[in-house]
Subunit: 257 residues, 2 copies
């Protein structure tokens, strides 16, 4: 059981806050510049909502910073004298941001896409952790293990690449779904038809290497179909370019593999 302060009240703070609260931790404060946001999460996890960083208690065990990357640096002066561990939850901010201000610090990076609507299954989410000492790493591992089973030690450089890869497989893939949905909509075809294929595509690489799961005209060097598709896309330069680049990429990947 730890006393935890949350700095930030967005999606990550909300999901992490609830998870820590649900396993019996004491969420003592939730900070947000906006009192309504602070209250919304505070009410659920029975914490005190605060809107001034000066009000942050100094004797909590853990301070979880869940603000935008740029805002982290502005929080740190207010955490200079805290006794507990200070962590941020960002994929792309180096652990050394804490270097000059904080004594005990680390990172808790949950590798998942959080949104207000979705209820993540925490057991399944990989948590990437890092700390400025073995002792602090142990402490972080202990507290994270109360809400997650999948915990990996990942350094700042690795975390940055992991975040980049996550942008590809999550953000860019979702953007492909949007593109496909629009393409079908234009021809009065329901996006429903693609949903089983979308699922199967993600399922397949849970147990087969993606390089081996590849199918399609680019892999088969089926230039007739590729030409047909490019012809269908000729009024949308952006889609046409994407099609060409992926076709090239798949051919390179398959020749390497």
């Amino acid at each position: 059981m730890s006393n935890i302060v949350f700095i930030g009240s967005g999606n990550v703070a909300t999901h992490l806050g609830k998870a820590f609260y649900n396993v019996g931790n004491n969420i003592v404060q939730v900070y947000s510049r906006n009192i309504e946001n602070a209250k919304e999460l505070s009410n659920v996890v029975k914490a005190i909502p605060i809107t001034s960083l000066n009000e942050i208690l100094l004797d909590a065990d853990l301070y979880v910073i869940c603000v935008t990357d740029d805002a982290i640096i502005n929080i740190l002066p207010y955490l200079k004298n805290v006794k507990g561990l200070v962590v941020h939850t960002s994929g792309s901010v180096d652990i050394e941001i804490f270097n000059t201000n904080i004594e005990s610090y680390g990172v808790i990076y949950p590798l998942q896409t959080f949104s207000k609507q979705s209820k993540p299954v925490f057991n399944n989410i990989p948590f990437c952790i890092e700390a400025n000492s073995d002792n602090n790493l142990l402490k972080i591992r202990k507290i994270v293990s109360s809400i997650a089973e999948n915990i990996s030690e990942i350094n700042s450089e690795q975390r940055m690449y992991l975040h980049l890869a996550a942008v590809f497989v999550n953000n860019f893939t979702n953007s492909i779904y949007t593109l496909a949905s629009e393409m079908l909509g234009n021809k009065a075809i329901s996006f429903e038809l693609l949903k089983p294929l979308i699922l199967e595509t993600a399922f397949k690489v849970q147990h087969i290497n993606p390089i081996d799961a590849q199918t399609g005209p680019a892999k088969r060097n089926d230039f007739k179909i590729i030409e047909k598709h490019l012809h269908l896309l000729k009024n949308n330069e952006m889609y046409e370019n994407l099609y060409k680049e992926f076709t090239k990429l798949i051919q390179i990947q398959q020749n390497k593999g």
Copy 2:
């Protein structure tokens, strides 16, 4: 119960053949140029393997052509005098390919990615059907409904766009998985870490519109992270270009939405 001839013995023939056989249809012949391939499927579905198109029986109820798009045209002269329905299973070949040779024809296009390893759940796969008459459409619907619940009437133009969209959400998405796997491998990070995110990304759009499921730096206009990522990609022009194009695409999609 129908008598069915399969022309072709690849992944689609194998999965469809087994499915039709399992619900009690009579698979009378399996044609392949290669006798071993013809035998492999024939043995499972208790059919006669044949390697000459001249041997095709004329009195079956259904002829299912599962060969590559280019090869379909070469099959048709041998089916000129058949009594039953002739269908192909291709996403991108117009139904009118049958026009000059065949009397009763149509298309059965299962929208899924088939591979030897994977066992598709047929109930869940959308089957797109088309025929040259209402009567033939009814016949096709009836026989397909013995193996599938999700059946849609889709014309040839729609089917072509559906196939194109499938290439985006399946082939190109899988190529992103391969890219991510390679990116992580270069930094000694396990691809395992990305698997839950890949699944969640596909799950999300089963019940949320993809345009609303979008997250990430491109959506937030977080140019600092975008710059950071482009810097990480500066030694790989292809990845860098993809990153830039998707960032632009997401911004366009979000401004439309």
